[in-house]
C-alpha cells in the first residue's frame, strides 16, 4: 500500500493544477451543506434570540412580520403608525412598561431609531464612549455606525431628507453624537438612537426657527392679536443647540404624534396575558409576541433551506459524476502507463490499489478541507455571520 500511495502522491503532485481543481470542487460539494446548515442555524438563532427578548409588541393592524421586522431589526417596511397616545394607554394600565419606537428615517444610510432611555436598559446597551441621550438633537450611535463612519462623541451626523427634490419637504437635521455603544452583534450596532421627540423634529413634525417676537420687520408679513406671520426670510434651524433649543417646538397635540410601534414589557406573565386580551379584539391595533412571528419565519427559512439542500445535493451529484468522468478519462489517457504496468508484471490488485490511492488521497483531502470548513463555521461562524449577514437585518 505504501508504494501505491507513493505513486499516487507523485502523480497528483505532478499534475497539481488538475488535482487542486478536483479537490476544491469536491470540498465545496462536501462543505457547502455543512456551511449552509451552520449559517441557517446562526441566522435562526439570532432572529429568535432578539425576538424572544422582546416580550410583546404593539402596532397597527397589518402584516405582523413587517411590524416585527421594523420594530426589532429597524428595516423600514412602511407600516402604518400608532400614536403616542397608544403608548400612554399601555403605560396607564399599570401592567407594563411601554417603550415608544419611531423608525423609518435614515442618517447617512443607517436607520434612525427614535425611542426613550428605557430602550437602552431594556436591551442592555451600554455606552462605550461618551454618555447617553439627554437633550433634543442628540444621538447615540451603534458600534458599527461609529466604526463605519468614523464617528465619536462630539461629531455630528445628518439625517437623510425623505425627498431630495421636494423643496417644501423636510430638511436634514444635524444630530450631535454624544455617545457610542458597545457592540451587541445585532441590529442595534447599526442604528442611530435619538429621543423620540428628536425623531419627530427630524420628520418635520417639530421645528425650530428665529424668535418672531424679536424678529425684525423685514421678516414679518403681519403681526395681529398676539400672532405673527413671517415670510421666507425667517431663519429655520437645522441644528439643535443650547442657544436655539428653546425655539424648537411642536404644533398640535403631542399625543397624536406618530409611533411606528411600542415595545411592551409586562410586569409579569399574568400582566402580559391581560394586555394581550385587551387588544385581541381591537379593530385597529395588534399586540403580538415577536417570538411567535419569528418562529413562523424560521419555519419558512427551514423550508427554503430544504429546497436549497436539494439544489446543493443535485449540484453535488453533478460534481461527483464530473469527478468520476475526469478520473475515467484520466485513466484512459494513461493507457500507455497501464499497459506498461501490465507488461512489466504489475498485479491487477496493485493497479486497482494505485488508482484507489489517487482517488482516496483526493477524496480524503477534500473531506478534511470540508471538515475544516465545518469546524471553522461551527466555532467562528456565529461571530462572522453576525458581523456579515445580520448587519443588514
Amino acid at each position: 500500500m505504501k508504494d501505491s500511495l507513493y505513486l499516487a502522491w507523485r502523480y497528483l503532485r505532478h499534475h497539481r493544477a488538475k488535482t487542486l481543481l478536483l479537490v476544491l470542487s469536491l470540498s465545496v460539494f462536501l462543505g457547502l451543506p455543512l456551511v449552509m446548515r451552520a449559517m441557517s442555524a446562526v441566522i435562526q438563532q439570532s432572529l429568535m434570540a432578539r425576538a424572544e427578548s422582546t416580550p410583546l409588541l404593539l402596532g397597527k393592524k397589518g402584516s405582523s412580520l413587517d411590524l416585527v421586522v421594523e420594530a426589532l431589526y429597524f428595516q423600514a417596511k412602511g407600516i402604518e403608525a400608532l400614536t403616542a397616545a397608544d403608548a400612554d394607554e399601555v403605560d396607564d394600565t399599570g401592567l407594563a412598561q411601554a417603550i415608544p419606537m419611531r423608525t423609518g428615517l435614515l442618517a447617512q444610510q443607517f436607520p434612525v431609531v427614535g425611542t426613550s432611555l428605557d430602550y437602552f436598559g431594556f436591551r442592555g446597551l451600554q455606552t462605550a464612549n461618551g454618555r447617553t441621550l439627554a437633550t433634543l438633537g442628540e444621538c447615540v450611535i451603534g458600534a458599527d455606525v461609529a466604526a463605519t463612519l468614523g464617528l465619536k462623541p462630539g461629531d455630528a451626523i445628518l439625517t437623510s431628507p425623505s425627498s431630495l427634490f421636494d423643496l417644501a419637504g423636510v430638511y436634514p437635521l444635524r444630530l450631535q453624537v454624544v455617545g457610542t455603544l458597545h457592540p451587541s452583534y445585532g441590529p442595534d450596532d447599526r442604528a442611530v438612537f435619538v429621543d423620540v421627540k428628536t425623531a419627530w423634529v427630524a420628520e418635520g413634525l417639530g421645528h425650530g426657527h428665529q424668535d418672531l417676537a424679536t424678529a425684525s420687520g423685514d421678516v414679518l408679513l403681519k403681526r395681529k392679536d398676539g400672532t405673527a406671520t413671517a415670510n421666507a426670510k425667517l431663519v429655520q434651524y437645522n441644528k439643535i443647540t443650547d442657544e436655539n433649543a428653546d425655539n424648537f417646538h411642536f404644533h398640535g397635540d403631542p399625543a397624536s404624534y406618530p409611533l411606528s410601534s411600542v415595545i411592551v414589557v409586562p410586569n409579569d406573565d399574568k400582566a402580559g396575558v391581560l394586555l394581550r386580551g385587551r387588544f385581541v379584539n381591537d379593530p385597529a391595533r395588534q399586540m403580538l409576541r415577536p417570538a411567535q412571528v419569528v418562529e413562523g419565519l424560521n419555519a419558512q427559512i427551514f423550508r427554503f433551506e430544504r429546497v436549497l439542500q436539494i439544489i446543493v445535493w443535485t449540484v453535488g451529484l453533478a460534481t461527483a459524476l464530473m469527478f468520476v468522468l475526469v478520473m475515467v478519462l484520466s485513466w484512459r489517457l494513461r493507457a500507455d502507463e497501464l499497459r506498461t504496468m501490465t507488461r512489466l508484471g504489475c498485479s491487477r490488485w496493485k493497479a486497482v490499489q494505485i488508482m484507489g490511492a489517487e482517488v482516496s488521497l483526493m477524496v480524503g483531502t477534500s473531506v478534511a478541507l470540508a471538515a475544516f470548513l465545518g469546524f471553522v463555521m461551527a466555532h467562528y461562524g456565529e461571530t462572522w455571520l453576525q458581523n456579515l449577514v445580520l448587519r443588514g437585518s
Partner: protein
C-alpha cells in the same frame, strides 16, 4: 532458457495467428527476432513473457512452463524474471529518473525495495552514464538518455531474461550503436539472456542467434 514447442496462438478477436513449431534459445544468448511488420515479433515476445497465453503447445521460459501458469502467477514470474525495454521507452513523466529505474519494485510485492535495490539502481545508472541525471524528469532528457533509463529499469531487478522490442528504433545511428553496446555489456556482465526485436539488419552480426519470425506459420492482420 527459452523453449517453444508446437505453439499455436490466435487473437480472440481473430485476424491474426501465429504458429511456432520449434524455437530454442540457450541461456546467455544474445538473440535477435526479425521479420516484416505484422509477422508476429511482438506476439512472440508476449508469448515468451506470459503476457499472452497460447492455445496449444508448450512454452518454457527460464525453467518455468509459463503456458501452464495462472495470470497472477505469470505476472509474478514476469516481474521477477524478465526485464523489458520498449521502443518508446514508456517512462513515467511524474517520476524522476531514479524512481523510474526503481519503478518495477513498486508494482509487485514479490520485489522488495530495499537499500540493495537502491544501490543496484545507482550502480546501473553509473554504468550507463546517467548517474548525474537521477533527479531529472524524463521530459528533461534526450532520446539516448531516456533509452538508457529504460535499459536500467529493465535490468534493475537482475532478471535472467531481457526482452527488448525494437529498443533502438527511435534512436539516431550513433546513439543506436551506443545503446546496443550498453545493453550487451550489461547482459554479459549479469549473464542475462537477451531477445531483441529489430528491423535493422545491419545489427544482426552482433547477435549470437537470429530468429526469423516470418519463417513461422502466421497470418498477418
Amino acid at each position: 532458457m527459452i523453449e517453444l514447442r508446437d505453439v499455436r496462438f490466435e487473437y480472440t478477436r481473430g485476424g491474426f495467428s501465429l504458429r511456432v513449431p520449434d524455437l530454442e534459445i540457450s541461456p546467455g544468448t544474445r538473440a535477435a527476432a526479425i521479420g516484416p511488420s505484422g509477422s508476429g515479433k511482438t506476439t512472440l515476445l508476449n508469448l515468451i513473457s506470459g503476457i499472452e497465453r497460447p492455445e496449444a503447445g508448450q512454452i518454457e521460459t527460464a525453467g518455468m512452463r509459463v503456458d501452464k501458469l495462472s495470470q497472477a502467477a505469470r505476472r509474478s514470474f514476469r516481474i521477477t524474471n524478465i526485464g523489458f525495454v520498449f521502443q518508446d521507452f514508456l517512462l513515467l513523466d511524474y517520476l524522476d529518473v531514479l524512481q523510474n529505474i526503481l519503478y518495477p519494485y513498486r508494482l509487485h510485492h514479490d520485489l522488495r525495495l530495499d537499500d540493495a535495490a537502491h544501490a543496484r539502481a545507482q550502480r546501473l545508472a553509473a554504468d550507463l552514464g546517467i548517474d548525474r541525471l537521477l533527479k531529472r524528469r524524463p521530459d528533461e532528457l534526450s532520446q539516448g538518455e531516456r533509452q538508457r533509463v529504460a535499459i536500467a529499469r529493465a535490468l534493475v531487478t537482475a532478471p535472467t531474461l531481457v526482452l527488448a522490442d525494437e529498443p533502438t528504433g527511435n534512436l539516431d545511428p550513433a546513439t543506436k550503436q551506443h545503446a546496443l553496446d550498453l545493453l550487451f555489456e550489461q547482459c554479459n556482465a549479469l549473464s542475462m539472456t537477451l531477445l531483441m526485436v529489430t528491423h535493422d539488419h545491419g545489427l544482426l552480426d552482433r547477435f549470437d542467434q537470429v530468429v526469423d519470425v516470418s519463417a513461422f506459420e502466421g497470418s498477418p492482420p
